[in-house]
């Protein structure tokens, strides 16, 4: 039995995208210096350049969202590995002449008629892969070497990220992967080993002068407000001058070349300045609600793949949002991460909308009546070794026979494992 798409998610995402379009327009529709509104020299359409591009991308993203929404989950399972390989190839292509270097980093792929940032796709592929991996029959949370497989995949991507270099993407991928593995039931001990093993690498990477400088700057941006701390202090000024109600939509002064990357990574600062604490709080709340709703959808799913997919996507979006909020408010060192749905940039928007499509796809398979919630510590009947319920069977049917077999094998393996 499938149901309609989750309306709450639809509404939340529509709101976020609309706020994003408004903010992108406000941040980019700046009259060039020396010209005034109404000047003949000023092309009246020039203010819409970014908005048009972002709007077009949004339409593209909505199309992709529908495809992701309609795609059968059993087929999606089969896509996990190929998509991972596509991401990998895309990421490697960045180092070929197809790659575009900007700001000292190779992060974009020339893709007619536009460019694409494969690292955005990597996150989604990783979620898909992990969901597939954790829901396969051979996944055993007790086996350290099995645990190492996703870690190895993550490490490969991280290595490529570091070559670009894109420390932020590597870090957020680690957070996402480890959190998902944690959710999948991986032993805390293993996670601890991994963390211990990663520590020297992390320390080594942080010794890189420019990263160290970023961290020092993050700790005290006012030490050098004209130099290293410029972006952060300007972001603070944007937020701070916004106050409770903001300076008014379109009235931002910080966008006038004070705040670098105001339409991309620091777009939340512009929202804070123009719409004030109220506006910023609304945006944060929308993301929080999206995250909660995503986990609620996951809770109602009846198979692990759907569960991991829903939690993974929710986490992917929420972690990105939190990291972005933390960076622009000075809670974390500066990293170039866009705010999903809102920042200007096609790759992030399209991938986020595909992710939402998948989340909505999963939401269709939720149980008709509310199950005992996550709070129910006792577990389900199945966990206790009972036969699969009718609903579960339906679900297995919906996902395909193959999946059901895996699922049963996995369950028996788990049981036998526990007995040993």
């Amino acid at each position: 039995m499938t149901q309609g798409a989750d309306k709450s998610i639809v509404i939340l995402v529509i709101l976020l995208v609309l706020i994003g379009l408004t903010a992108v327009y406000s941040s980019t529709a700046v009259v060039p210096p020396g010209l005034q509104k109404g000047d003949a020299a000023l092309d009246p359409m020039s203010q819409f350049v970014y908005l048009k591009k972002q709007g077009f991308t949004m339409l593209l993203g909505i199309l992709a969202l529908f495809v992701a929404y309609k795609i059968p989950l059993k087929f999606l399972r089969k896509l996990a590995i190929p998509l991972l390989l596509i991401s990998l190839i895309g990421l490697l292509l960045v180092f070929t002449p197809m790659g575009i270097t900007a700001g000292g980093a190779r992060r974009w792929l020339r893709l007619w008629p536009s460019s694409f940032q494969p690292s955005e796709l990597v996150k989604l592929s990783m979620v898909l892969f992990l969901a597939w991996f954790a829901s396969t029959a051979f996944f055993n949370r007790e086996k350290f070497f099995l645990f190492l497989i996703p870690i190895a995949v993550m490490a490969v991507f991280q290595l490529i990220f570091m070559l670009q270099p894109d420390f932020g993407a590597a870090m957020s991928l680690a957070i996402l992967t480890l959190t998902l593995l944690f959710l999948a039931g991986a032993r805390i001990r293993y996670l601890f080993y991994i963390a211990l093993g990663a520590l020297p690498v992390l320390v080594y990477l942080l010794m890189e002068p420019y990263r160290l400088k970023r961290i020092v700057t993050f700790l005290d941006p006012w030490k050098d407000p004209q130099g290293a701390g410029f972006q952060l202090t300007q972001s603070f000024i944007a937020f701070g001058s916004g106050g409770l109600q903001g300076v008014g939509l379109g009235e931002s002064k910080q966008k006038l070349a004070f705040l670098p990357e105001v339409h991309t990574d620091f777009i939340f600062s512009l929202i804070g300045e123009e719409l004030g604490f109220i506006g910023a709080a609304v945006v944060v709340t929308l993301f929080l609600m999206l995250f909660f709703r995503g986990f609620m959808i996951a809770r109602k799913t009846e198979d692990p793949f759907a569960y991991y997919l829903a939690t993974g996507i929710s986490l992917m979006i929420a972690i990105q949002a939190i990291v972005n909020f933390a960076v622009v408010t000075g809670l974390a060192p500066t990293k170039g991460l866009p705010l999903p749905f809102i920042s200007y940039g096609g790759s992030s928007l399209v991938v986020s909308l595909i992710a939402v499509g998948l989340l909505l796809n999963v939401s269709r398979y939720r149980t008709a009546k509310p199950t005992r919630g996550l709070m129910h510590i006792g577990g389900t009947a199945e966990d206790r070794g009972a036969e699969p319920s009718l609903a579960s069977k339906t679900s297995q049917y919906a996902l395909g026979r193959g999946y059901g077999q895996y699922r049963n094998r996995a369950a028996s393996l788990r049981r036998s494992g526990r007995k040993q």
Binding site: V31, P33, G34, K37, T179, F182, L183, G185, I237, A238, F239, G240, S241, G242, G243, L244, K253, Q254, L256, A257, F258, G272, G276, F277, A280, A281, V284, F287, L288, F291, F292, A298, R299, T301, E302, D303, P304, F305, Y307, Y308, L315, A318, I322, F325, A326, T329, G330, L331, T371, L374, H376, I377, G379, T380, A381, E382, D383, P388, S389, S392
Partner: protein, 576 residues
């Protein structure tokens, strides 16, 4: 069934809790920045987003009386830098030095200050500015500035004056009329972007000062200065002053001093050149001062034109001191006393008047007081009150010693004779109009009758008889025009020896032309001429040349066609 087991459910709760904590931390942080520190950040924001801009003021033009430009503005550009934005001061300094041809070290010093704003080079021409702009140096900017230009060079520099680097009037009319020429600077708050560009500043109104029209006539000024320069060279004089005035209105038609300066380029000017000697320097007028006692005696009816005065002794004793005539005259009429410039006769007349009357008339003629000319730095001259005069003072003062007058004071005194008895207030500004041409100020003729018409007429008759007899200063004769004037030769008092110098003296000539129908009152003063001791030989020809050319410039019809004569009061006088 559900997709996950019990422990995973707990883990999901843990993850939700952690992320919720993250979101709450963001909320807390936002509240901290946006609500608690709002005022502090707002202040910061205002500080960088809004800038107080001072609208540059375009100074008014200074015109001569016929509308010819004496001071105008040139649009120039100045380079400045924000030292914080300059990465390599050495490279920037080298590039700028090459473009501006200025000293590299000086520029470097200006690049490495702690200030946020530092001038590098001000008021460059547009060609140079374009060169700098093409260098596209980071942290270096150009802003337009008005440069004050005096298109006639040094002409009338002491009247026109000059401005400082910030276009504030300092000297002359530029200084004295600064509040008219300039305007109150308007400052406004403008929004700017991080690159310093202004955004939607609204109307960028140019503030213009008022235009000032002087009483100076460029043509007469040129004649005056050209001849003054020639005299300076001819007599190797140390300084000189000449003033040409309309005797009826007090309008200064021309005024010049030597040494002088170029108001456009003040790079190595010294105060000796800038000083407007016409109003700031005093000299002993000598014989030219006899006009005061002469007119006073006639006005007070102490004497008549024909009153006999015994000058046969050749000297007179005043306060135990002998003052001699150049040569013995015998008994002279009052008319002849003035005509022959007899010291003895003048002093005897003064003694008849008494020191209080003499003092009264000195004051009446405006000596000892500022003339009230609309130029800065005027002094009142040196005149002691009659109460403080010594016994011999009346004798000395009657013949123009023991008193210090400015060139302007003496020419004004002769204007009284020229205009029929009025003491006029000299002035250099004729009118002021706002940028749209509306009249703001018009100089009014301030003339006060101090001497009766009859007395002045009589005195002028005396001067005319002098003309008929000819004088010692024939060289001052004006071709085709009669001159009424008086030479003066005054020794310079040496403060070191406390004696009058035997070699240094001041030659002067003051008078008016044409004698019958005066158009111009004029004084020329030459300090320390070498070669001739007599004012008649030094200042007389200078007066003649200027007057000659001035009258022809003014196309004044000649009143004498057959005679080279002029009204000259004999100029030989003796110093004690």
């Amino acid at each position: 069934m559900a997709a996950i087991n019990k422990s995973q459910r707990i883990r999901a709760l843990v993850v939700m809790g952690m992320l919720t904590f993250g979101f709450l931390a963001v909320f807390y942080r936002l509240a901290d920045i946006m609500l608690i520190d709002h005022d502090w950040y707002l202040h910061k924001a205002r500080g960088q987003q809004v800038r107080k801009e001072i609208n540059p003021v375009k100074r008014g033009t200074i015109y001569d009386r016929r509308g010819r430009e004496l001071a105008i503005n040139l649009e120039t550009e100045s380079i400045f830098c924000n030292p914080a934005d300059i990465s390599s001061a050495g490279d920037v300094a080298r590039a700028l030095a090459a473009a501006t041809k200025a000293d590299e070290k000086t520029i470097y010093a200006r690049l490495v200050t702690n200030k946020r704003f530092s001038w590098i080079e001000r008021k460059m021409d547009t060609m140079q500015a374009r060169q700098i702009r093409d260098l596209k140096l980071k942290g270096v900017g150009l802003i337009p500035e008005m440069k004050r230009i005096y298109p006639k060079g040094m002409l009338a520099s002491h009247v026109v004056g000059f401005v400082n680097l910030d276009n504030k009037g300092v000297e002359g009319v530029e200084g004295g009329y600064d509040r008219y020429l300039s305007s109150k600077e308007e400052s406004k708050l403008v929004t700017r972007d991080a690159k310093g560009n202004h955004l939607s500043t609204g109307t960028n109104r140019e503030i213009r000062g008022n235009n000032v029209t002087l009483t100076i006539d460029e043509g007469l000024q040129y004649i005056l200065e050209k001849n003054l320069d020639a005299a300076m060279i001819k007599w190797k004089a140390s300084a000189a002053t000449a003033i040409m005035m309309d005797p009826y209105t007090g309008e200064i038609l021309a005024l010049a001093n030597r040494p002088t300066f170029n108001p456009t380029d003040l790079s190595n000017v010294d105060m000796n050149e800038v000083r407007n000697r016409a109003i700031t320097d005093v000299f002993e007028p000598g014989s030219t001062f006899k006009v005061v006692v002469g007119i006073a005696a006639l006005e007070e009816k102490t004497v008549k034109s024909g009153t006999r005065i015994d000058c046969s002794a050749g000297f007179v004793e005043v306060g135990g001191k002998r003052i001699k005539d150049d040569h013995r005259h015998g008994v002279l009429s009052f008319h002849e006393v003035i005509q022959k410039s007899s010291n003895v006769g003048t002093i005897k007349t003064a003694l008849m008047l008494g020191k209080d009357k003499v003092y009264e008339y000195i004051k009446k003629f405006g000596f000892g007081d500022k003339t009230g000319i609309d130029l800065q730095g005027e002094i009142s001259g040196l005149l002691r009150h009659s109460d403080k005069w010594s016994g011999m003072s009346i004798g000395s003062i009657a013949i123009g010693q023991e008193i210090g007058v400015t060139p302007l004071q003496i020419v004004r005194a002769y204007a009284v004779v020229a205009n029929g008895g009025y003491l006029v207030t000299p002035h250099v500004v004729k009118e002021i109009r706002d940028p749209d041409g509306a009249l703001i100020m018009k100089a009014e003729t301030k003339a006060e009758r101090i001497i009766s018409e009859a007395t002045v007429a009589t005195f002028r008759e005396i001067l005319k008889t002098v003309t008929e007899e000819g004088g010692t200063a024939v060289k001052a004769a004006v071709e085709g025009n009669s001159v009424a004037g008086k030479t003066g030769t005054a020794q310079i008092y040496d403060p070191k020896t406390k004696r009058y110098s035997k070699t240094r003296y001041i030659a002067s000539f003051v008078g008016f032309v044409p004698a019958d129908n005066p158009r111009l009152a004029m004084v020329v003063v030459i300090k320390e001429p070498k070669g001739s001791i007599y004012g008649g030989l030094v200042a007389g020809p200078l007066f003649r040349d200027i007057a000659n050319q001035a009258l022809s410039y003014l196309t004044v019809p000649m009143d004498k066609t057959n005679d080279k004569g002029m009204v000259v009061l004999a100029d030989k006088e003796e110093k004690h």
